[in-house]
């Protein structure tokens, strides 16, 4: 990457120093004078009508300053609560999942608040919980909500025959002639795959601090992936205009999609409004696992037809996601665009459903819906290749899509390094050689993530000493501050140290979409690039006068504005910055940039994993793992490697050990002891092969990075288990017990 001087370099994160010294401030570290403590009363039942809710005894406790229930929520009087999505839902008449917040107390101490919770009198009338998606979908199953119709939340569709349903969302897409495609095939296989509910497992539990000023403005510190989306949600909940709510960004202790959800902040804000005092709330790990919205389980059925020569002639697939108790976070929606898009298939039909159950509601987790769907698709690809006697990687290379191909959703694919990435992996594995040894196996998978783009603004200030301050409203969950600072330094021709990135609050920073969908650096960099160009145009106007040349002859390097081809004639950014403020200056240099409406830059990540299975215990040992990913252009290779290594480790947890254990809808494993996540001894070093097929739409050609490497992990491991043991695992997690059962069953005639 000789082309660039800062972009493409392994630059340490600019937030690392504050984190290795313990100085970084997270939500739970914020303290305000006179702060009260809030605690939540949660439903013990998965499905129950609230017959009586009496808070008078709790209110009477000395030190209790406020008790709130659904009746106190201003937003519920304006909108249907079902539309106030991704927040705590206080029930008005019934609870729909165990651990749903029912009432909230603010008191002068945690102990008093907890004592008051015990004095809130709730009389429940238990209803039979709906626990299984397939059961829930049946027309005869009573609907959890009387006013929820498929694809029409909280408002009946115009079609008078429609009935309320537990199917919150249904989508169906098709292309070509499916039946003709299957007739053309020499081999057709159909399989059903199941994935379980898993949690993001971020180490930092939810916390929030809220205060109200004398004018009634609410300020909130909480770990949201999007301060502006959080402001919108909280303002709706509190019934306040946006200008009366301020979100202050703080460091986020891991998010992975799980921290767009606001389980505490709206409640905390309401308690602050009721009491006039600052309020702090924090969840225990137990609460995080019971109410910190996990990722949904999925039942997936896929049918695929191939010719003897290995060409896929047709595929149909059906995905049913367990939405839990609320309809708000559709996963079926993401099936469109993300499933079977990486292969050239003329005849295809895809259906997806979000189905309600009386279990904890779900939210997005690193490439939402897609690890689940790819577990099915990429396991099926492996089974097809095996049945044909083909190398699984070659089978994928033979069928992979290319630029200009139309995906099942009808989108024409832009340039994506499908072939380059698969071939990079094939070459790597050829060098590495076949896996040797008893009970060992290799699995591959090809993950696709369509990605998204958002709306972002950026301000660039050129200071009077030549340093640059970038102001954005984007909370950093992936190292985005560092990558963006590299881009600013590159554009201005200054060292990294000259660039300061400020993540402002919602009153001072330009608007930004939340940090989701792997879109942050991809989209934000456009806004920042424009802001840099704007500021540099202003600098050029000042430099023209001082250097006596046209603007087109000026370039920026080494902290100077220089005349092209004339090394002698230059002026420092510091001098230009100062002159902007002089009486002949035009005023301070403030570059402004905005972006919206950007198309996505899809990404592909190919996985290969070598494992060994202990035939006595069923335990899988991951021997080596490698991911080849088309990143477009690696702004910071070290940061991207970290994203890939983290995603793969989460995927290993999902595939081998993690999973919610429910008993009649209630989560049973609510500590990290029994919700087991990978430790350093469960994973090997994770190798990365960064492929750089530039996207046509990203600054410098960059693409979405953080989510794609999660997508293929689950199937890669299942394919490796098959390779090592001959047993096809169609359900996750592949615990030692499950694998032993599989081996035993396979051994029986």
């Amino acid at each position: 990457m000789a082309k660039y001087s800062v972009v493409g370099k392994r630059v340490p994160r600019i937030d690392a120093l504050s984190k290795v010294t313990g100085a970084a401030i997270y939500s739970g570290d914020v303290v305000l004078p006179g702060m009260l403590h809030g605690r939540v009363l949660r439903s013990p039942h998965a499905h129950a009508i609230i017959r009586r809710l009496d808070i008078t005894k709790a209110q009477a406790v000395d030190g209790v300053m406020a008790v709130i229930t659904a009746a106190d929520v201003p937003g519920y009087k304006i909108r249907n609560p079902l539309l106030l999505a991704e927040m705590a839902h206080l029930p008005q008449d019934k609870v729909v999942y165990a651990a749903q917040p029912v009432a909230v107390v603010a008191a002068t101490s945690v102990e008093i608040a907890e004592k008051a919770l015990g004095l809130i009198d709730v009389e429940y009338e238990e209803l039979p919980p709906v626990l299984d998606v397939l059961e829930s979908m049946k027309p005869e199953t009573p609907p959890i909500y009387p006013d929820l119709y498929t694809n029409f939340i909280a408002r009946p569709p115009s079609d008078k025959d429609s009935k309320p349903s537990n199917i919150a969302y249904h989508m169906s897409i098709s292309r070509g002639d499916l039946e003709a495609g299957f007739r053309e095939a020499d081999l057709v296989l159909e399989n059903t795959f199941r994935t379980q509910t898993v949690h993001h497992g971020y180490l930092e539990p939810f916390a929030a601090v809220a205060s109200v000023d004398t004018g009634g403005k609410v300020t909130i510190w909480t770990q949201s992936q999007g301060v502006f989306s959080a402001r919108q949600m909280i303002a709706e909940f509190l019934g306040l205009p946006l200008s009366r709510v301020k979100l202050v960004p703080v460091e986020i202790g891991g998010a992975f999609g799980g921290k767009s959800y606001l389980p505490l902040a709206p409640l905390c804000g309401l308690l602050a409004m009721k009491t006039g005092r600052p309020v702090r709330m924090e969840m225990s790990r137990d609460e995080v696992l019971r109410d910190g919205r996990p990722a949904p389980g999925c039942v997936a059925t896929i049918k695929m037809g191939v010719t003897k020569k290995g060409r896929i002639t047709a595929a149909s697939a059906r995905f049913i996601y367990d939405a839990g108790g609320f309809p708000e976070m559709s996963h079926a929606m993401f099936v469109r665009g993300n499933v079977l898009s990486q292969y050239k298939i003329s005849n295809v039909k895809i259906e997806a459903f979000d189905v309600l159950t009386n279990t904890v509601p779900v939210t997005y987790y690193r490439a939402p819906s897609t690890p689940q769907s790819h577990f099915a698709v990429e396991s099926q690809m492996d089974l097809m290749a095996r049945a044909l006697g083909m190398d699984p990687l070659q089978f994928r290379i033979q069928n992979v899509a290319a630029e200009g191909d139309t995906t099942p959703s009808g989108e024409v694919l832009p340039r994506v390094g499908f072939k380059e990435t698969l071939e990079k992996m094939a070459e790597y594995l050829k060098q590495k050689g076949e896996i040797q040894g008893k009970n060992r196996g290799r699995g591959v998978a090809c993950g696709f993530w369509h990605g998204a783009a958002g709306s972002f603004g950026a301000y660039v200030h050129v200071n009077t000493d030549g340093s640059i301050t970038l102001v954005i409203g984007v909370t950093d969950v992936s190292g985005s501050r560092t990558s963006i600072a590299q881009i600013v330094a590159e554009e201005f021709g200054v060292p990294m140290e000259s660039v300061t990135v400020v993540v402002g609050d919602t009153d001072t920073a330009p608007w930004a979409s939340p940090s989701v969908g792997s879109m942050t650096v991809y989209s934000l960099s456009h806004a920042v690039h424009r802001a840099c160009q704007d500021a540099m145009d202003q600098l050029k106007r000042l430099a023209m006068v001082r250097l006596g040349v046209e603007a087109s002859q000026i370039e920026f390097a080494d902290g100077m504005a220089k005349v092209k081809g004339n090394a002698e004639k230059s002026i420092s950014l510091a001098a230009l910055g100062r002159s902007s403020l002089g009486f002949r200056g035009e005023g301070p240099i403030v570059g402004r940039g905005s972006i919206g409406g950007l198309p996505a830059a899809p990404s592909v990540a190919v996985h290969a994993v070598d494992i060994e299975v202990d035939k006595e215990t069923g335990k899988v040992r991951v021997l080596s793992y490698v991911v080849a990913q088309d990143v477009g252009l690696a702004i910071n290779p070290m940061s991207i490697e970290g994203q890939i290594q983290g995603a793969v480790t989460q995927g290993i947890g999902w595939a081998l050990m993690e999973g919610y254990v429910f008993d009649r809808g209630k989560v049973q494993n609510t500590t990290f002891l029994d919700y087991r996540m990978p430790t350093a001894t469960d994973v090997p070093m994770i190798d990365t092969l960064l492929v750089e097929v530039g996207s046509s739409t990203g600054i410098y050609g960059l693409r979405h990075v953080g989510e794609p490497p999660m997508v293929g992990t689950l199937a890669a491991l299942a394919n490796a288990v098959h390779s090592a043991t001959g047993v096809r695992m169609k359900s996750l997690p592949m615990t030692p017990e499950a694998i032993l059962n599989g081996i035993k069953k396979a051994g029986k005639p």
Partner: protein, 148 residues
């Protein structure tokens, strides 16, 4: 009750049954020590007690009377970063940073008693510290780089 924390004697006001973690975070405002689980399973609250790494959420303040505590705030006295802190920065071992203080203190205690470990020993040493961002790869590399 007196406890020596980061080289300085502190008179503790909290009751004997308060956890060391609560005293550090809420009484002394040393918020670099994090609470990830409260049940001793994640290691985010790791501090050193007389040089030994412990989960401060499982220790009552009364148990450490007269002992010497090191928290992350005490790992770089006079502002000079410990080689592990420096390595974590330069190797890219820090992402969200929530587990970082605990991992650093665990690694320090481990290397102090085992200066030339194998990769496997490093992995075992930090197996009580969960990290959800890095996949441990760069953490292990950073620790190994200081060890060798």
């Amino acid at each position: 009750m007196k406890v020596k924390i980061n080289g300085k004697e502190h008179e503790i006001a909290s009751g004997q049954a308060t956890t060391l973690l609560e005293v550090l975070r809420y009484e002394l405002r040393l918020t670099g020590t994090k609470e990830g689980c409260g049940t001793g399973n994640c290691g985010s609250c790791t501090v050193l007690v007389d040089g030994r790494a412990v989960n401060s959420c499982l220790v009552l303040i009364g148990e450490v009377e007269g002992k010497e505590i090191t928290t992350i705030e005490g790992m770089s006295p006079q502002g000079t970063l410990h080689p592990l802190q420096q390595a974590f920065i330069s190797e890219g071992a820090v992402q969200c940073g929530f587990c970082t203080p605990g991992v650093l203190l665990t690694a320090k205690a481990f290397l102090d008693s085992n200066p030339h470990p194998t990769e496997f020993q490093v992995r075992q040493a930090i197996a009580g510290n969960l990290c959800r961002c890095t996949g441990y790869d760069k953490i292990v590399r950073a620790i190994m780089s200081v060890a060798n």
